[in-house]
Amino acid sequence: MTTTDTGAGGLAPTTRKDWASDQEVRWCPGCGDYSILAAIQMLLPDLGARRENTVFLSGIGCAARFPYYMNTYGLHSIHGRAPAIATGLATTRPDLDVWVITGDGDALSIGGNHLIHALRRNVRMTILMFNNQIYGLTKGQYSPTSELAKVTKSTPFGSLDTPFNPISLALGAEATFVARTHDMDRQHMQETFRRAHDHDGAAFVEVYQNCNVFNDGAFEKITARDARAGMLIPLVHGEPLRFGAEREKGVVQRADGRLEIVDVADVGEDALLVHDERREDPGLAFALSRLSRGPLEPTPIGVFRCVERPEYGDAMARQVADAQERRGVGDLKALVRSGATWTVE
């Protein structure tokens, strides 16, 4: 339900309250999804976004309930298909801000195909994948991002499959914008979401999200307040890759291309790798995505890659406009006469 516009739809600035729907939020108390929701609701006024031009689209899962809580246009669809649905919406309505909210199962298991194709086509949409490394809504089975040997209800003897690295996957799918953030740091989330939103094309953001009921603490080792400095490697464009409480650690690239974490004192600041998110070649971003094997080791966060490539919907619109320019706007009478015709008196 929506109350009629009380100012948010006009051109007056909006506040967080304008973006919250009247529906009771039904995630488990303590779920990381709450902080992501808050980050978005607080960010949107800041982006100057308009409610009437904003659409939240999702598949199925805990994460996918998100649209119900936003006082915007919204579509809660079916498991895994949101990027496909968003493709139809975004290509026909370039005037809209299309956000896709998805989970690790939704995006990478049942919907893996749609995700990679939306990314390679570079359709204008902002995809936020809440990665809790578990199936939340179906009560705790392992997911395509769960660590190997994960014990869950469906894998009592440990899971057998190697997990996806979502950042590597997105890079491999020719994504033009790839980033990672986490639910414990509102400011970092907002900064990352803003960048993703401003990107002209498909933007993919992996959000480490705690499911305190079925996979509590999965990211604690790197996202806990006192752990962050030593375990999160901030990616800042044009800056050397440094981290640690005293910024005493850094990342270097070896002659064979391998990335390695070193003590800055040992190599000197000049030897550190300088982050370049705009490199055409995704190789270095890919190497960065492999730096940690999971959220238990020092892990890069921030924007891995942000490059320009023509947006799909625009290209589609251009073909239409070109055809209309070349042939004139279609004439139905001419269309049905496009083959040979004859007249019977």
Partner: protein
Amino acid sequence: MLHHRYTMTTTEHRDEHHRQLDRVVIRFAGDSGDGMQLTGDRFTASSALFGNDLSTFPDFPAEIRAPAGTLAGVSAFQVQISDHDILTPGDAPNVLVAMNPAALKANVGVLEKGATIVVNVDAFDERSLTKAGYAANPLTDGSLSAFALYEVPMTSMTQEVCKEAGVKPRDAERSKNFFALGLLSWLYNRPVDATVEWIQKRFADREMVREANTRAFRAGYHFGETAELFESTYEVQPAHFEPGEYTQVTGNQALAWGLIAASRLSGLPLFLGSYPITPASDILHELSRRKEFGVRTFQAEDEIAGIGSAIGAAFGGSLGVTTTSGPGVDLKSEALGLAVNLELPLVLVDIQRGGPSTGLPTKAEQADLLHAMYGRHGEAPLPIVAAKSPSHCFEAAIEAVRLAVKYRTPVILLSDGYLANGAEPWRLPDVDAFERIDPAFASGPNHVLDDGTEVFWPYVRDDATLARPWAPPGVPGLEHRIGGLEKADGSGNVSYDPANHEKMVRLRAAKVAGIVRDIPPVDVDDETGDAELLVLGWGSTYGAILAGVRRVRARGKRVAHAHLVHMHPFPANLGEVLARYRTVLVPEMNLGQLSRLVRAEYLVDARSMSKVQGVPFRAGEIEAAICSLLEDAR
């Protein structure tokens, strides 16, 4: 045995004989690589221009190139041309053009007694005969004695005329289908210039091919003229058509144009999300060429994304369409259920083919009717429209869009491989005369809360149609969330309330059932009004049933025919119509799906007549079935 062999020593010139025919059925058959579809198409086009009524049946294998010379690789194109109104491509061909032994073997069984067979005698060598499974040469062993056999060295004569133009024999060989076309054009007095012009255009950028095809075509024509092989040529006079402007269309072409027309009539931009699949791909191809109509076509990563993107486009206020065939319909089922729940306009086009699974990809079947009716989990009814002839696909597409938009519902439009590829003359409709389709987008609040606040509720229904408002994003104040979860009546908020769920299930069903008030009653063709047997059909069997019915009447017997276009809901008068006849016969290319539906719905003892061979009914089969039932009734 009528056995003619061409000799180059002919000198004498005989008077030309013309024989008038009221109709003729010609079947062009050859290897998949022989260009038989093109040959048939072109023969059809020149007949259309000449003014004949016609109906075609392209019949080709699923493999692009099955092993050359084998039965599996035979590709055929059947066309009936006539000087009067005809409805089918004909039961038994009067003429077979066989480019190789396999083509002869695969088709000789369907010919009428005494039919003419024209073979490319060059292709009847030992190897080809063996490949086709002939132990002895059928041209010489007497097995074709019931036919008028003409042996024409098409390959060598084509190579001969192309030699002068510097075309290598191997390349020239590929033009032999144009030799056959030329010969048949002479035999049936088809206009020549139009075809020559067409060759120039079609092969404009390939000089050698253009030259070879032109020479081969002319050589075939002159061969007919000068060789004393055929006693006479034949003429099929133009048919008497209602005055008007005509063109020739296939079902898929007409369907694509119908979608464009509906986009115009509604003012909704057309978005097609589709994944290639035979025999539906040509709709994707045709619409992709028509961008000047504002059409956006999206070749999705799979069928699910095809319908998903169409749903997204519909949410955004476009005319969302997805096209596919059986296997794709299976994949789309879940998303179709979502569209039922979202109550958004959407058209799913199913060009039926033989199933289950990959089945017979290039052959027609009508076995998806029950799938269209019931192929979703939960109570998920939706309207179904079925096209009955190639040109009718145009109107059927507009009707599907009309219902989808007016009732905010996905609609399934059924066609099949036979309609999709079959062609017939089409009297061009007055496109200005079609009724507009009003998208009637929501524009403001539609509900007042207890405290007096005016709000927009996405599931408030129109009293008459029970349709909900369509409110694409972009309008301040109409922000709303919809989804696949059950919604509270009116507000559209997620609701798990048991009574509300039953109410919503019933409302969705009532909305679709209510469409019955918005569709025409089924027409009954019962000439004398006192027939005791009704033939009830749907879809592509229309032509064969009507032709069969006419034959029965020509024997002085009475029979009625009704053909359904609206498969769900059924027209309001159908129950009463069925009750009027002692016997109801339902011919279908499945194991009795419509007959099952009408039996369940109206408790009538409908008799099912089934044919599931990937080929259409023949008029003769329908005629025989009717006659035998009439006999029984005695």
